[in-house]
Symmetry: C2
Subunit: 261 residues, 2 copies
């Protein structure tokens, strides 16, 4: 394990920049996974990180010690930091003191949609994006396509909310969703409060692509008009709209329910 003790160390300064700037993360194609759960999930599902960073006091934690042990047995890079230096990098308050530096996978769309997928059009809130990734992964959906305006999936907030879902999904970003929808070999479904077809009345036992939009404005009109189905989740009572992540969960699990019944 290598140790850095100076704030002026160039490698440490790079880490600080990566932790604090989404621009630095996009430019370098790297991000940080903060906390035991994300690191364990990555190890289990994706393998070795580029680097593991631990705080001095976290080495006392048995789960962290186990992670560091696994990495060192594979000769992966482990960097130790005094707590003060570590805490300046970590975005998690009262965290456990371990993070992975990983490359963010960049995928280009090369094929038409032919399996179940999630399409996110201009979704703003990182917590919503993370929750949708988590629900999709739990429902067995494996592909996620995001428009350029959607929150960056590999940001710390999205990673935290998705709880490891990233590592079982193929995530495509900066995607031309209109082109994707128009070439899709599966039905494309958008939810809309104005639709007349109930979610429950659509046959979801085939693969479908789910289209969700901006928290306030919904799916952009041009994209909405290209969807093969507009469906409504029936409601009761005076509040008509759902949070987009709640709406997505209802859709994904209705698909799973139909497939299993």
């Amino acid at each position: 394990m290598k140790t850095i003790t100076s704030r002026d160390n160039a490698q440490y300064k790079d880490l600080l920049k990566l932790a604090g700037s989404s621009q630095a993360r996009r430019k370098s194609g790297r991000t940080l996974l903060d906390g035991v759960h994300l690191c364990q999930s990555y190890l289990q599902l994706r393998g070795m990180p580029e680097q593991c960073i631990v705080s001095e006091s976290a080495l006392q934690n048995p789960e962290v010690a186990d992670i560091v042990g696994q990495l060192e047995s594979q000769r992966a890079h482990v960097l130790g930091l005094p707590d003060a230096l570590y805490n300046a990098v970590s975005q998690v308050e009262h965290g456990v003191g371990v993070m992975f530096l990983i490359e963010t996978p960049e995928r280009a769309v090369t094929e038409a949609l032919s399996v179940s997928a999630v399409l996110l059009d201009n979704l703003q809130d990182p917590g919503n994006v993370g929750s949708i990734l988590r629900s999709a992964a739990a429902a067995g959906i494996t592909q996620v396509y995001c428009s350029a305006g959607t929150a960056f999936c590999w940001s710390p907030k999205v990673l935290r909310a998705a709880m490891g879902a990233h590592f079982v999904l193929d995530i495509f970003e900066n995607v031309d969703l209109a082109a994707l929808v128009s070439g899709a070999k599966v039905a494309t479904l958008a939810t809309s409060g104005y639709a007349t077809q109930r979610l429950y009345d659509v046959d979801l036992r085939q693969p479908v692509a789910w289209l969700f939009g901006h928290e306030g404005q919904g799916v952009a009109d041009d994209l909405l008009s290209m969807a093969t189905h507009q469906v409504v989740i029936p409601h009761l009572g005076q509040i008509e709209s759902l949070n987009v992540a709640a709406c997505a969960a209802v859709c994904f699990f209705e698909q799973l329910r139909q497939g299993q019944s």
Copy 2:
């Protein structure tokens, strides 16, 4: 419309304190609704606020002018603030410049559970609590009971995430959930990854109480053991757990689906 221009005004200082401190909100039994949507919902569903606070520039906004007009026609209190003073009170970045000061309803539990309800045990995240209130209201559930450890429902973050759901719900806080569950006249359902009964196999056409717990630890064991049903939402793939608000949405809308089919 009364106007305050000095930061030293006692009423203005009270507002600042209310905006910045959850303790001040709990102690005074008052909270702030920030933004056009929440204010419009309150007017429509609950009526006149104790006071309306507007920024100078927001008076140019037609929706805000309409709200102020409605209030003045009913001789309700409207307070105008220069933008700089208003912005120090508002927690919403780039907001529209209107808020209501309202009393937070305090309800004591006097009856046994006999209708569909949501019980929140030690739920921490205000965004999750707000999303659950919103989904419950959309699904036609009208009663919400929160343990002492659950995020304060009338905090600005919960209010923002619930988008007006508060005003159609009866919300009970600091509730002894164990006593409530043990005296319930309806089935009480908790979701658990270890349960063997599928959500879809439970008859939800009767009123039920839904029990959700802490984001990390779930429902406390003693409470879980008192629930009449433990149910699992079947999943596919390697990610097993759902965000608690996503889980709640799936449950509420499965109940609604069964009731309508």
